[in-house]
């Protein structure tokens, strides 16, 4: 069964002058378990809004969002929060690590909202995840003393610490240089696959998008499938023709 299904999702915001600004317009999207989907689009095209809706951080103003086939529209705030913590892991462009908390504390933080064994074993689990992203030796370092690439690896470990079924990554390489970004993205894709989590990545970077099973393009709030890329042989050059137009 489809894990996530957006059916004609719209999101509008009211403007101070009484008008209405559409951010997303009739978006349809399905994500199956374990799948990797990439969404590319210009800045301001509504990518983050779409991801926030997927992650139950935001609610659509129109359409239907099914999670495991269940409509999410009528869920109470408490249930939404719980589902968010259990089903999703988030990776942000700006890492959003908790300042002055060690890498281990950061990775363990989502488990503060878990129950039972998950909560009680949180430190050990955090260590395991840090090992998995190759930062086992830096568990006691605070984010302020980590490089951007390391910070994002901590964030990836944190996103995976509750074994989510979907990882939502909002421009995960956006604040990193090209090379580091590629490494981090490879790690993210691999770690998500290893954990059996679906991965929805939002990106500017076509090389990043190439790692995905399916690609979409968001343009002024409308989502359209992206034509198949050229054969993967052309990897290093971001000049592959059909993707060109998706670049901001």
């Amino acid at each position: 069964m489809t894990l996530l299904a957006l059916r004609g999702i719209s999101r509008e915001v009211g403007l101070p002058d009484g008008g209405v600004l559409p951010i997303l317009t009739r978006v349809d999207l399905e994500v199956a378990a374990g799948e990797h989907v990439a969404i590319v689009g210009r800045s301001g095209s509504g990518k983050s809004t779409l991801l926030n809706i997927l992650g139950l951080l935001d609610s659509p103003t129109g359409g239907e969002y099914l999670l495991d086939g269940e409509p999410t529209g009528a869920l109470r705030a408490r249930r939404r929060a719980r589902l968010r913590g259990e089903v999703f892991g988030f990776v942000f462009q700006q890492f959003n690590l908790l300042p002055r908390r060690t890498a281990e504390e950061n990775v363990a933080a989502p488990l503060l909202y878990a129950r039972g064994r998950d909560y009680l074993r949180r430190r050990r689990t955090a260590r395991e995840l840090l090992d998995r992203v190759g930062l086992g030796a830096r568990a006691d370092i605070v984010p302020e003393r980590l490089s951007g690439g390391e910070q994002q690896r901590v964030a990836i470990a944190r996103a995976l610490v509750r074994s989510p079924r979907v990882v939502l990554a909002d421009e995960p390489t956006g604040a990193l240089d090209v090379e580091t970004g590629a490494q981090v993205m490879a790690l993210l894709a691999e770690a998500a696959a290893e954990g059996g989590a679906a991965l929805v990545t939002i990106t500017h970077d076509l090389n990043v998008a190439r790692l995905a099973d399916r690609r979409y393009r968001l343009d002024a709030g409308r989502l359209t499938p992206l034509a198949e890329p050229a054969p993967t042989a052309v990897v290093p050059a971001p000049a592959a023709a059909p993707l060109e137009e998706a670049l901001p």
Partner: protein, 406 residues
Amino acid sequence: MIPVLATLAEAWSEVRVHRARVVLSLVGVFLAVFAMTTVTALGLLVAQVQQEQGERMGGRSATIGVTAYDPQTGMPPDPQEWDAAVADLTERYGITTTASIGYEETRFRLPGGTQAVQTKRVSPSYGQLHRVEPIEGRWLREGDRDSLAPAVVVNEAFLAALGVPDLSARPTVVIGGGDPVRAVVVGVVREGYGEELLAYRVDRSAGPWDAPGVADPSAMAFGPSTLELWVRPEQADEVMAVVSHDLGLALGGVQVDAYRSDSQGLEETLGMLRLAIRGAGVVVLVLGGLGVLNIGLVTVRQRIREIGVRRSFGATSSRVFSAIMLESVCATFLAGLAAVALSVVLVRNLPLDQLLNSGIPLAETPAFPVAAAVEGLVAATAVGALAGLLPAVIAVRARVIDAIRF
């Protein structure tokens, strides 16, 4: 259980991480709790000391003093008649504790020569009624009536005049007069001003040195013997009324006066004092709380992003709320704890006898009042809860997507 633990862990980690800010915001609370606890503690100690002093003088609440004498001769009533009438009275009104007090001068042969010492002749129950706490040895007891050597309880000045440091050598002292007798010093009390010597002996004892039932006319020179009745405070007025009447009837022709002997009104005075002190403390505490609130409001804005991130972990509104609340409470509780600790150290090291008891050493140095300490902690915690409320509401209302947007 887990959510509670987890929320506590989260709050604690916040306090730890933002140590400098937390410490800064807590200075006000610390000072307020310190001042309030110290002043309350001192207030309670003053009250305790006052009460002890009052009880030693006039007996516990409610003590009714009864005096009786023949208006014609000024002599006390016949002891046997008197005892019978009193026994009848106490039985009728269910009065369980009574004590008699008479005053006399006893001539003690001390190393510096014979000295007339003001002596109270009391029943052993006097100790209970006046909460006498010997600092050494023991108080008088029923058995002392029958012992061959009279027992005396003396004050420290008496012991010094006797030339002995303490009771370890079982000191004795000779009571002079027509028929000298060697008395045993059984206890020491801390009483009297300066060099004044004081002694206690049992009242009409049955020993060979003091014929039973013989009233010493010279005793009257120091005031009439008094009977003290210990009754429940609400009983006091009724008992006073009937005592004069009933005893007067039973001992035809004898003048009987009954009066309230324990100090009253002290409670109210001290209550007012405590209330005023507490009021001042509360004002200071409110000011400290405003400081915490202010810093809490400033920092909650900076922390909106972090709260948004925690929302993405699945934090519910109630978790966000209680985490901020608990953080505030945790912090002020610790400040309160530190303040109370400092207050305890200070109060315990103050020369309380100099400050509270006009230089007379206190019979027992009162412990730091637990009530004041608990009150300080509760107040600090309450201030933390109040000051955390507004930031917590702001944190809950912050829109998550705005919080994590960059």
